[in-house]
């Protein structure tokens, strides 16, 4: 493989990595907000799925992508609210509530989709107006000829859809919100020791709901990206476990925003590899089967969840409903 070709392949991989990481980044940050406030959220998957469906369906029906996105976020928010009511107001088990949301989304999308479009649970393919467009950043074409940096700017950084840039901006925004603002301080405190917030005269319930609803919005964006940017229609179970991969990335990142970005890019990279180079030939000796490369993100998930990446200490009040003690 000559250098030029290798460079081209690397650019292609980097570009693909970003494209497929975006869903993970949205989901991972959603989980970060929720879990930092002490609410475990394994319903990321379900919220993204329901949003992916409603974004595609409403976008198709109205012909406007933004109506679709609004519908997707609204659907995801409803599910977030269900999780909030179950686990904050009624102090239910957060894991069970999350599982229920995943089942609900998985079933509802197919049932509603079938009744609506009669296509076996799929939505019809979306036209260009019903999807996000690629955005060419300024000077992308003029700078393309600059050696090395030019193609990186023009092909990897420029030319993505709007939600890609939104996701990239939300990472620093999350960091700033968590560590530089009053809201962030209280949110983190609620996840670590809710009693400290309560005795300081601040409502624990309000902050937990805020966190859960932010997670709802972010999952909504993740789902919207999936069916209108990465894909061009809703397909049954199209989230394909990405909500869970995002949770693994969250643990890998030890609940910190910048590390979450890195972890999601790592998972995205593995997915990109399996998309671009399904059959890797190892020195002409043997071929790594496509099934293996496709399984890589999931294998990494299992490895991370089994605790091979060092000790990850979750927020201390995570998973526990807050009850005032006597």
């Amino acid at each position: 493989m000559d250098t030029a070709n290798f460079f081209l392949q690397a650019l292609l991989t980097a570009d693909m990595t970003i494209r497929v990481s975006v869903v993970l980044i949205f989901a991972c940050l959603a989980g970060l907000f929720s879990e930092r406030a002490g609410i475990f959220d394994i319903g990321l998957e379900g919220k993204m799925l329901i949003s992916a469906f409603f974004t595609a369906a409403v976008s198709y029906q109205t012909g406007y992508i933004w109506y679709g996105v609004a519908a997707g976020i609204a659907a995801s928010l409803v599910f977030a609210l269900i999780h909030g009511v179950a686990s904050i107001t009624f102090r239910g088990n957060q894991l069970i509530s999350g599982v229920a949301i995943n089942f609900l989304a998985s079933g509802l999308t197919v049932v509603i989709g079938h009744a609506w479009f009669k296509k076996g649970g799929l939505t019809p393919p979306l036209s260009d107006a019903e999807r996000f467009h690629e955005i060419t950043l300024p000077f992308a074409d003029t700078l393309r000829d600059v050696p090395i940096l030019g193609p990186i700017y023009a092909d990897v950084i420029s030319g993505h859809k709007l939600l890609v840039y939104v996701a990239m901006l939300i990472v620093p925004l999350t960091w700033w919100l968590l560590y530089r603002t009053r809201f962030g301080l209280r949110l983190r405190a609620v996840g670590e020791n809710p009693a400290s917030v309560d005795t300081a005269g601040v409502s624990v319930v309000r902050y937990r709901y805020a966190a859960v609803l932010i997670a709802g919005v972010l999952c909504g964006l993740g789902g919207a990206y999936l069916s209108t940017s990465q894909g061009a229609a809703f397909g049954k179970e199209m989230t394909a476990g990405r909500g869970f991969i995002a949770l693994a990335a969250l643990i890998f990142a030890k609940w910190r925003p910048w590390y979450a970005l890195m972890a999601c890019l790592l998972f995205g990279f593995l997915e990109a590899i399996s998309n671009l180079f399904p059959n890797i030939n190892v020195f002409g000796l043997f071929e790594i089967p496509v099934q293996f490369t496709q399984a890589l993100p999931y294998i990494l998930t299992v490895v991370i969840l089994a605790g091979f990446v060092g000790k990850a200490i979750p927020p201390r009040a995570g998973g526990e409903p807050y009850v005032k003690e006597r």
Partner: protein, 523 residues
């Protein structure tokens, strides 16, 4: 002159706090009954009472954690409803809880400003708090590193952070719930100096404690609560610990145990060069050697976390260690492969664990089920290989409960439904009634009422007088001093020295507990 002015102000000003007719019920339990209390401005007011007497409930009402069913609160003479904690903070009330309400992985500064930030951005609040903290730490003896993470601070420093939190919120009235429970004597003295300083600045302090010595030492007035009622309020100078104890319990209580001098016999337990390394690779026991003789109580003093827990767990058979332990002259297995709590009990070692709710009992099990743990394979409890003889166990439990005055004496009641003192009596009954050669007992009276303490202490001394060996681990120095025949002080996994209880005092022990050598080790 300043004093005269202060006095005049106290007499003319309205009381800092006035509670009138406060009542609060949790279901059928009346936690507070028609409580009336008046606390003078600039005074230290103590509140004593047994567990469940309603002290904490009353303070929670004052701090807005609970809403009273009836009654009124006046702050500085003005009627002030306190529906939630932010109302209490606004009224100038600050509270230092028994279990600190701190975020462990936040810095001191972040903890101080939490809930009192000046605006949506943190930076200006942090800068302001840093300045104010500097002032406060100069004014009172409240120095803490503002940038330290709370989890890296000692318990004493964490408590200072709690006090700073209250002062940052401009509290005029400070409530402290059992502030010295987890402190060394030196740290406790320090807190009292801080409180004295705050009082001189005109702050009002309410001190909840069960330690009568502290009440006598620092308070101006003291109120006694019993079964949800305020039974008396007296000037501290005009009362005595004995009178307060009687008011708390409702009968005369012996605060000092009557015990004859020990007549020790042969060594029952010999420990040589015991070492334990925990799973983080930290040495928790560093070459412990000791012996306990028949007919004596060996007391082990120390701030919790200096290896006492590990020592008890090794002896009790559920922590592996290296070194030698002899029971009645024969060596026992320390690898943990051939021993557990049950095999140790067969060797005559009974164990009353430090944490009765986690290790001594299963809280959801009935008293009679709890009564056989560690002895469940005893033929007396089993009909055959499959069936247990529940009727026999219940009968025996009822008899043991009777002898140990467990209230209520109902074998079928779940362990969690007994009070702390009665839970402890169940554990003691189970272990003592098996007639062991050696009794390991950890924190026998932690969270136990003063009346039950008397009973438990008497039982331990009786067992000694029957010629049994007793190893007592306690963080309560009063308890160590009054029960032990010999005292060892543990610090950082080793033994600082042995003292004779008749020839030492809390001050000397306190220094040893803090790792400082004293020159009284000659005895």
């Amino acid at each position: 002159m300043a004093n005269a002015q202060l006095k005049e102000r106290q007499e003319t000003a309205a009381p800092a706090i006035e509670l009138v007719g406060i009542s609060k019920a949790f279901g059928p339990v009346q936690a507070n009954k028609d409580i009336t209390l008046s606390v003078a401005r600039g005074s230290i007011h103590g509140i004593v009472g047994e567990n469940g007497a309603g002290k904490s409930t009353l303070m929670s009402i004052l701090y807005g954690f609970y809403k009273a069913d009836a009654g009124e609160i006046y702050i500085g003479g003005k009627k002030t409803p306190i529906p939630d904690s932010s109302a209490a903070i606004a009224a100038g009330i600050g509270m230092v809880h028994q279990h600190f309400k701190l975020v462990e992985n936040f810095t001191v500064l972040e903890n101080v400003i939490l809930g009192m930030e000046d605006g949506p951005m943190l930076r200006p609040s942090l800068a302001k708090a840093r300045k104010l903290l500097q002032q406060l730490s100069d004014e009172y003896e409240l120095s803490v590193d503002p940038d330290a993470l709370v989890e890296n601070l000692s318990v004493g420093h964490q408590q200072r952070v709690e006090i700073l939190k209250a002062l940052y919120r401009k509290a005029d009235i400070l409530i402290l719930d059992e502030p010295t429970g987890v402190l060394t004597p030196a740290e406790a003295d320090h807190v009292f100096r801080i409180l004295q300083g705050l009082k001189e600045q005109g702050k009002t302090i309410i001190l909840i404690t069960h330690k009568l010595r502290e009440i006598m030492e620092i308070t101006d007035t003291v109120s006694v609560m019993r079964r949800g009622e305020m039974t008396a309020t007296v000037k501290t100078a005009e009362t005595s610990p004995e009178q307060l104890a009687e008011l708390m319990v409702g009968r005369k209580v012996l605060l000092q145990i009557d015990k004859k001098p020990a007549t020790p016999g042969a060594d029952i337990l010999e420990v040589k060069n015991l070492e334990v390394t925990d799973d983080k690779g930290v040495k928790r026991l560093k070459g412990i050697s000791l012996e306990v003789r028949a007919g004596e109580i060996l007391g082990i003093a120390g701030v919790s976390g200096n290896g006492q827990t590990e020592l008890l767990e090794v002896l009790g058979g559920y922590m592996p260690a290296s070194g030698t332990i002899l029971i009645n002259g024969t060596e026992i297995d320390l690898t943990g492969k051939h021993s557990d709590g049950q095999s140790r009990r067969k060797r005559g070692i009974a164990h009353v664990p430090e944490d009765r709710q986690a290790e001594g009992l299963i809280m959801d099990f009935a008293a009679w089920e709890n009564m056989i743990f560690g002895y469940q394979n005893d033929p007396a409890y089993n009909k055959n290989a499959l069936m247990m003889d529940n009727a026999a166990i219940r009968k025996e439990t009822a008899a043991k409960m009777e002898r140990f005055d467990v209230r209520p004496p109902i074998p079928a009641l779940q362990a969690k439904n007994f009070s702390g003192g009665n839970q402890q009596k169940i554990v003691l009954a189970r272990e003592i009634e098996r007639n062991p050669d050696l009794l390991l007992v950890g924190q026998p009276t932690r969270g136990v009422d003063i009346g039950a303490i008397e009973f438990i202490h008497q039982r331990i001394v009786e067992l000694r007088d029957e010629g049994k060996a007793i190893l007592l681990v306690s963080v309560e120095l009063e308890e160590i001093l009054s029960l032990s025949d010999r005292i060892l002080v543990m610090f950082d996994g080793h033994i600082m020295g042995e003292r004779d209880p008749a020839k030492t005092d809390e001050k000397e022990l306190g220094m040893l507990m803090a790792g400082m050598e004293t020159n009284g080790g000659a005895n």
